[in-house]
């Protein structure tokens, strides 16, 4: 399971579970993750959970900016296209800081192995 934790002064204030195929982030009340703050657009970004087509049992998470006014940033880089998220990536929605955590990712083997 993955989550997006909002940080204020490096302290987690709220954690949102990424628990559906498409999670919408924005200021309007119909978003799955609602951030009521002036730098956030009504519909700001979308996070998708996509089962990996080539590696059974793995889910990839992707974030796409929904043409927001103040941009979506991953590790301080403004994203211009759909961007894959890795565990512990810093995500910025307008001026709001988050940390993306994918608990399953840490369980993966780091050495080479064969898909069989």
């Amino acid at each position: 399971m993955a989550s997006l934790s909002q940080l204020v002064d490096h302290v987690v204030v709220t954690t949102f579970e990424i628990n559906r195929p498409e999670v919408r982030v924005g200021r309007r009340s119909d978003n799955d993750i609602r951030i009521d703050e002036i730098s956030v657009s009504g519909r700001h970004a979308v996070i998708e959970c996509v089962p990996n087509a080539y590696l059974e049992g793995t889910v990839d998470y992707y974030i796409t900016d929904s043409n927001s006014t103040n941009g979506t940033f991953v590790n301080d880089l403004c994203i211009s296209a759909r961007q894959r998220l890795n565990s512990n990536d810093r995500v910025r929605i307008g001026w709001n800081e988050f940390r993306f955590v994918d608990e399953d990712e840490n369980a993966m083997e780091k050495t080479a192995y064969i898909l069989d």
């Binding site: 080539y54 890795n86 990712e105």
Partner: protein
């Protein structure tokens, strides 16, 4: 066209064992050469055993074909490819055989990339993520497509090149010797005098960006010097994995 080949393998700056295996041979009389790199994996001594079996089997099966004067008139690429695949099938069988004997080796497998040069024609075969590059007219072209999950994701647009170093499963192979799917991918290129073929394990490509390769290769005064400087440069970059390079030069 004169063929010169040399190679070098190094444990790298971090690992304690070298699981890569390399070999090559040149037959000036028939104008043929064979270059092989294998990158083994799978715990304990497994990787070393698998890559060694793969390289030795390829040399054993294909070596006589290089010397055979009957084959001086190079056989068509189809029959050469069939012979290569039969060598790889035998290597696969031998790896399976060792796994059955030694329980500690049950997870072993290996990549393999080989180039069989016959006159101007080079037949390239690979399984896994070891690569073959063609150096031609001061340009570098990768002739092999990695059999990896990450390569599939790059091609379907899921990720871009700069994402690759961060993907946690970037080392997962979709094909390998020692796995059920051990069918090699083949390609053929025509070599002109001055061209080079470079075979390598991913230890080289992970440590050393290919932007500097052409400089290192062109500055070297010999094939040996070129291989040494490529390996030395990857070690200077603190190569995390074993580094192997086998280089063929023509003139």
């Amino acid at each position: 066209m004169e063929l010169q080949v040399t190679g070098q393998t190094d444990t790298g700056a971090v690992r304690s064992a070298n699981q890569d295996a390399i070999d090559w041979c040149v037959e000036p009389s028939s104008g043929q050469a064979l270059l092989v790199v294998a990158d083994g994996m799978g715990g304990y001594q497994g990787g070393e055993v698998a890559s060694r079996i793969a390289v030795d089997t390829v040399m054993e099966v294909l070596g006589p074909a290089l010397q055979d004067p009957v084959l001086r008139e190079p056989p068509g690429s189809e029959s050469r490819a069939a012979l290569v695949q039969s060598a790889l099938d035998l290597a696969s069988e031998r790896i399976e055989g060792r796994k059955a004997q030694v329980p500690d080796l049950v997870k072993m497998g290996t990549t393999i990339v080989l180039a069989w040069v016959s006159g101007q024609r080079a037949l390239v075969a690979h399984i896994g993520d070891s690569r073959c590059y063609l150096v031609q007219n001061n340009t570098l072209q990768c002739l092999t497509r990695d059999d990896t999950v990450v390569q599939n994701m790059l091609e379907d647009g899921s990720i871009r090149e700069h994402d690759v170093p961060n993907v946690p499963f970037r080392n997962v192979l979709t094909r390998a010797l020692g796995a059920s799917d051990a069918i090699a991918t083949f390609s053929e290129v025509l070599l002109a005098p001055g061209d080079q073929l470079l075979l390598c394990s991913d230890g080289l490509t992970d440590a050393l960006g290919d932007a500097i390769w052409l400089t290192l290769l062109s500055q070297a005064e010999s094939v040996q010097g070129a291989v040494q400087s490529m390996v030395a440069a990857s070690l200077a970059e603190k190569a995390k994995d074993n580094v192997s390079v086998v280089l063929l030069s023509t003139n």
